[in-house]
């Protein structure tokens, strides 16, 4: 067992691709597999900020929503015909949002930071709500048609769900690879130093403010890519994308799986979505169940599922 874990630790990206290549055949239906990938990526972004940098954000919905609306508006309103351009629009918006809000939120630390991220996400929610000409307001953004993937001479339609799954797998896999590169770099080491002891990291001469800001921007980009993919998956962007409950969802997923662990976000997203699926059959009071489960995890299993299995990090 421990030998297997050690091998997984050394080759996480390979493991990711192998596992998710067969994943659609392990779950009851394929759309669940796609959801796990996309929400896993969302949680991965949150985890970079909370699990590795030690900054608890309650505003991830802002960047998820910016990614989703950026891509959605490009396709539905601006009639962009290139998928890459549409994804770029989503990522661009998330990047701008992350850079701007990150600047404000990072003026405070700790608890204040959490409240500020929540407040700025709420600001975007209201803006999205009122800019109905662009966002569809309360009804959500409709009329998104997903263009085919054009790569060199290739032209692949994403209409079939299995094709879309593997398209998402490639992009999410690339994001996982980028995260691995970040964590293995000196920059990644400083992030974890900030998490462990911000004052000491400062004393070591690192430009903490800039590094945190950069981490925040990466977090916004990962969340934005996830949101953009979800817009393509649903071909609709509901206003709830920007709602604080979306931020709460990613917090719950990450902590269920294990904050500060490499695979925790995907384990957490899968657990959350499977539970939601199973429990919603029994009762419509799903928030009651997940709220209770989440409380048990915070109190008794703060390392989450993957963290408890492999002995990961939690808290400061």
């Amino acid at each position: 067992m421990s030998g297997a874990v050690a091998w997984i630790r050394r080759h996480p990206v390979v493991c990711f691709f192998v596992f998710f290549a067969i994943f659609p055949w392990l779950v009851p239906y394929r759309s669940l597999a796609t959801q796990v990938l996309i929400y896993g990526l969302f949680a991965l972004g949150f985890n970079l900020l909370y699990g590795y940098t030690g900054l608890l954000s309650f505003g991830a919905a802002a960047y998820w929503g910016l990614g989703a609306y950026g891509t959605g508006i490009a396709l539905a309103k601006l009639k962009v015909t290139s998928l890459w351009l549409a994804l770029g629009a989503g990522l661009g918006l998330a990047l701008i949002g992350g850079a701007l809000f990150g600047f404000f939120c990072l003026r405070r630390r700790g608890i204040y930071f959490a409240m500020l991220t929540l407040a700025f996400a709420q600001l975007l929610y209201f803006i999205g709500f009122h800019l109905a000409d662009w966002t569809g307001g309360d009804d959500g953004l409709r009329g998104i048609t997903v263009p085919p993937v054009v790569l060199g001479g290739w032209r692949i339609s994403l209409d079939r769900s299995v094709v879309f799954y593997y398209f998402a797998l490639v992009l999410v896999g690339l994001a996982v690879l980028v995260l691995k590169r970040i964590l293995d770099s000196p920059f990644g080491a400083v992030l974890q130093a900030i998490r462990e002891n911000t004052d000491r990291a400062t004393a070591c001469g690192y430009d903490i403010a800039r590094i945190k800001h950069l981490s925040f921007v990466f977090y916004a980009l990962f969340c934005g890519l996830a949101g953009a993919l979800d817009a393509l998956r649903l071909t609709v962007v509901p206003i709830e994308s920007l709602h604080w409950s979306t931020s709460g969802q990613v917090v719950i997923m990450t902590l269920l799986g294990g904050a500060g662990t490499f695979f925790g976000p995907f384990v957490g997203a899968a657990t959350y979505l499977v539970l939601e699926d199973a429990i919603s059959v029994w009762t419509e009071s799903w928030p009651l169940a997940i709220g209770g489960i989440f409380m048990v995890f915070v109190l008794f299993l703060p390392k989450g599922i993957w963290g408890t299995l492999t002995g990961g990090f939690h808290g400061r």
């Binding site: 709460g248 009651l288 709220g291 989440f294 109190l299």
Partner: protein, 294 residues
């Protein structure tokens, strides 16, 4: 014409005062708990909602608004005491993020329970007959109940101030917020101080809830938006500063109310813009000390 709009403007200032009063009650509870325990109570909005629902139940059972007004905050406060014992206490000594996360989960549970018990459709609370109707303020008519809310808020704040400044328990609370270790070394039970303060803070949320009930009704999601706005009030005022919470609460009440008057579409976002401006100019809030539990 100018006269009429001036009267309307004055009425809007009073409306802002009412809103500000609700903000202040919520923010003081949050700030008191935070200042002492460095715990941010995410479920503060859910307890505010419970205050309104408890008020509704008491009002329909007893028929007396006075009973509801007194008993609802007490019940919420007792629930707060139980919360501190069962949920918050095990987390002392862990990262300050953990109580925030836990109370977030708790708020999900409480809001959903309220939906199950009282239904998804909001309930209306009637103000008592004596407070129905409107009073002539000279320049405009203003709902009597709203004046009553302003009065209750003022009385409660004065009582809280007297309690903190003039009683021995208040002295202990102030001392424990400044230096809990020293208070413990002097032989006082800091845990019990925290326990009491958590009860007071949550009770104030319950009071805000029952006061808001006759104006806004009771519904399960009523605490969600206002808790985020209360966070803003606390950040603007300076976390842990009670004076800051009062002034910032009243200020933001006015900002929201006057924006509703001049540019209704901006009313929901003005709070956050205001916060961004304050953060740029004074990162630690209007009355905050930098470095408190950061």
């Amino acid at each position: 014409m100018a006269d009429v709009s001036l009267a309307a403007l004055a009425a809007q200032v009073f409306t802002g005062l009412v809103l500000g009063g609700i903000f202040v009650l919520l923010a003081i509870g949050l700030s008191l708990i935070f200042g002492l325990m460095t715990v941010v109570n995410f479920s503060h909005g859910a307890l505010y909602m419970l205050g309104a629902y408890f008020g509704y139940v008491l009002l329909t059972r007893t028929g007396s608004f006075t009973v509801a007004l007194i008993a609802a905050p007490l019940l919420v406060g007792v629930l707060g005491l139980a919360m501190e014992r069962v949920l918050i206490r095990p987390l002392y000594g862990r990262s300050p993020d953990d109580p925030l996360l836990l109370t977030f989960g708790f708020s999900l549970v409480v809001v959903e329970l309220a939906r199950v018990i009282w239904g998804k459709i909001g309930l209306t609370l009637d103000p008592p007959p004596a407070l129905a109707g409107a009073v002539n303020l000279g320049f405009t008519y203003f709902p009597t109940y709203r004046l009553f809310v302003i009065a209750v808020t003022a009385v409660v704040l004065a009582a809280l101030w007297l309690f903190l400044e003039k009683t021995n328990v208040g002295l202990l609370i102030r001392a424990a917020s400044r230096d809990p270790l020293m208070v413990r070394a002097l032989g006082f039970d800091v845990g019990r101080v925290w326990f009491i303060v958590f009860g007071i803070g949550t009770g104030l949320a319950g009071l805000a809830g029952i006061l808001a009930g006759p104006m806004r009704g009771a519904y399960a999601e009523m605490g969600v938006t206002i808790i985020i706005e209360s966070f803003v009030v606390v950040v603007v005022g300076g976390m842990g500063s009670l004076v800051g919470a009062v002034i910032s609460g009243l200020l933001i009440g006015q900002v929201v109310s006057l924006t509703t008057f001049f540019a209704p579409k901006l009313a929901e976002i003005i709070v956050f813009i205001f916060m961004a401006v304050v953060l740029l100019l004074r990162p630690s809030g209007l009355f905050g000390e930098a470095g408190l539990a950061e």
